[in-house]
Symmetry: C2
Subunit: 368 residues, 2 copies
């Protein structure tokens, strides 16, 4: 529905006007997609200076549009090859009489920003900062539906892998098979590079799959997610390979599971981001694993796999309802391996049943 | 061999000193990898202010190092979570007494650049511009060996696909199978998202694989490449599905083939970049296909799949020996499909046998 995107653009224009700038230029790709529905690579969105317009690099290269572009939106393709749409948009803003233009200084490079200023010297460039990222934090039900479908696809792909023979296969092949299954079940692609970590690699955050083969007695940790219509979810699970896990494996798993549950149970509207992080972190810390912990134990998901809010010790802010986040504590013991447990959930009010778990694959310690 | 990286850093320091800045900060990931051998995500390289050092985000997150880090290089991990290594490096340069620091203004965001200036007010930030990218254009034989292996892997993956049944399979599945085969043959991964385009999609540059199935009589165009030790190559081929191609398919194929050959034959040291582009472009233009052509008909490859030089109408500069480039003209007829032919070659002197073709899969029009 195009109106969704028009409403989002309207909210952003209002926000800019309140901040003293009638016009804004959005260049960060996920922000452009959020406001325009879709865009070819490199497109930028000009708001509040004449008619809203999506400026696309030219000439038409047949580059695919990501997502479905809002038909209500004016689209201009630059005639000149290699011309920067951000510069063209700034010139257009000046021609429309804009005195100031709020731009994404956290995304634009210094060199690009200078070219924009030079191209339209009568426009004063101000900072839009994270205004669009802030708008993106709370999702509408259509966005949550996309995330729910992405999670269903992810659970299916993971479930099928668990039914297959794993011993002797390499991390790389298992990761590729998971990605193939994601697409088989309707994903537009993986939400991020699939991580499969075996034995001493298990539990490492962002481990890149290697040629190591799965062995009896290994911990096996996987982290994957589907991209469905641009919306990205994440699941992480850890298993043991073979008959029965060893005591240290059971103890470590139970600890990480308890920490992850504590953080999940903290997902209530009004809870400070840092409190969610602390719920898990202090449990791992008091068990003696505080040092190796990741800087954040969870984060928002949506059009990007890692977006606001950050669930970290120094994060400012409180959870709202309808904010999807990951909860992903892990412990890695160098040389021995480790455990990571990662879910995607949507923050909901108690009255609505509390946090909605999107990734429902079991978190029992399975021996495969 | 670490000395390779030390030599590269030495050349860059000399270049900066000649430009009036003793110290430089490299932040663009491919540039950091080129000079350091490898780096964890987000690491930056400080040169010429005290001992050269790689500054990595902290705390140690177990993030994998891309590539093999030069052991001769000093590595510092930031203690504080979320601290920006570029800001820490600027402060370190100030502490080392540097008056100016050349930074990559085409990579650093305006917001980051401001934080760096605020963190070290006594250091004047200047522009390193594309100095490292320029150093990267001419490859040494070790780099070319990596590209040659990447091309061998790519040819193997493509060759196996051609022996399999294609009719009825979707673009997505063929793309995933090609990527799996790349890894089977030793690639670290695909060099870029594999493109498989059938029927009316064929010949579209950067086409994202869809659920369309291969049909009799289709053009089928594929574009893929392997990443081997960070070095990325590219091959594109177009085939017809079924018994014998139609006349329009043969004519279009012969035209694109002739244009691609003309550009390949122009790959001689001393030839202007734009002349290589023109060799192919004017042939397609005079045949009436000038409008839909891509802005560039080839580009350098290396640690990034698209790097300098650009083979485009307005490109400045001349080819050197030992510069690997793609030559990739294509024509797409909306609604009907089209042809793309893409090779990776290394520019060599006539005396050395002329351009070295790395991607050797046949360019005959095969009917599969």
């Amino acid at each position: 529905m195009p109106d969704v995107f028009a409403d989002r653009r309207g909210r952003l224009r209002d926000r800019c006007a309140a901040a003293g700038s009638a016009a804004a230029l959005v260049s960060r790709p996920a922000n452009v997609r959020y406001l325009a529905g879709g865009a070819p690579p490199g497109a930028v969105l000009l708001l509040g200076a004449g008619e809203d317009a999506l400026l696309c690099p030219g000439p038409p290269s047949g580059d695919p549009v990501e997502g479905r572009l809002d038909e209500a939106l004016r689209v201009a393709v630059l005639p000149a090859a290699g011309a920067d749409p951000a510069v063209a948009a700034t010139e257009r803003a000046q021609a429309a009489g804009a005195e100031t233009l709020a731009v994404e200084e956290h995304h634009l490079s210094v060199a690009r920003h200078r070219a924009m200023a030079a191209g339209a010297p009568r426009v004063r460039l101000t900072d839009l900062a994270g205004a669009v990222e802030q708008e993106r934090i709370v999702k509408d039900e259509d966005e949550i539906t996309c995330l729910r479908i992405a999670a269903e696809i992810t659970d299916q792909a993971l479930g099928e892998l668990l039914e297959s023979i794993l011993v002797g296969r390499t991390e790389r092949h298992l990761a590729l098979e998971l990605e193939r299954r994601l697409v088989d079940h309707g994903a537009d692609g993986p939400a991020f590079p699939t991580s499969v970590a075996t034995g001493p690699h298990a539990g490492r955050r962002g481990h890149r799959p290697s040629d190591r083969r799965v062995e009896e007695g290994d911990f096996l940790s996987v982290c994957l997610g589907a991209d469905y219509r641009g919306y990205r979810c994440e699941i992480g699970r850890t298993f043991v390979i073979g008959t029965s896990p060893e005591d240290w494996q059971i103890e470590l798993y139970d600890l990480v599971f308890a920490a992850q549950r504590a953080a999940r149970e903290a997902l209530v509207p009004g809870t400070a981001y840092r409190e969610v992080d602390r719920a898990a972190r202090q449990m791992l810390d008091s068990a003696g694993y505080g040092d190796g912990l990741a800087p954040l134990l969870g984060h928002g998901v949506g059009l990007e796999i890692q977006e606001d809010p950050q669930l970290a010790p120094d994060a400012m802010g409180k959870l709202d309802a309808c904010v999807p986040v990951t909860v992903e504590p892990g412990v890695h013991l160098p040389g021995r391996g480790g455990v990571r447990i990662d879910d995607t959930l949507v923050v909901r009010h108690e009255a609505d049943g509390g946090p909605e778990l999107l990734t429902i694959t079991t978190k029992e310690l399975l021996a495969l």
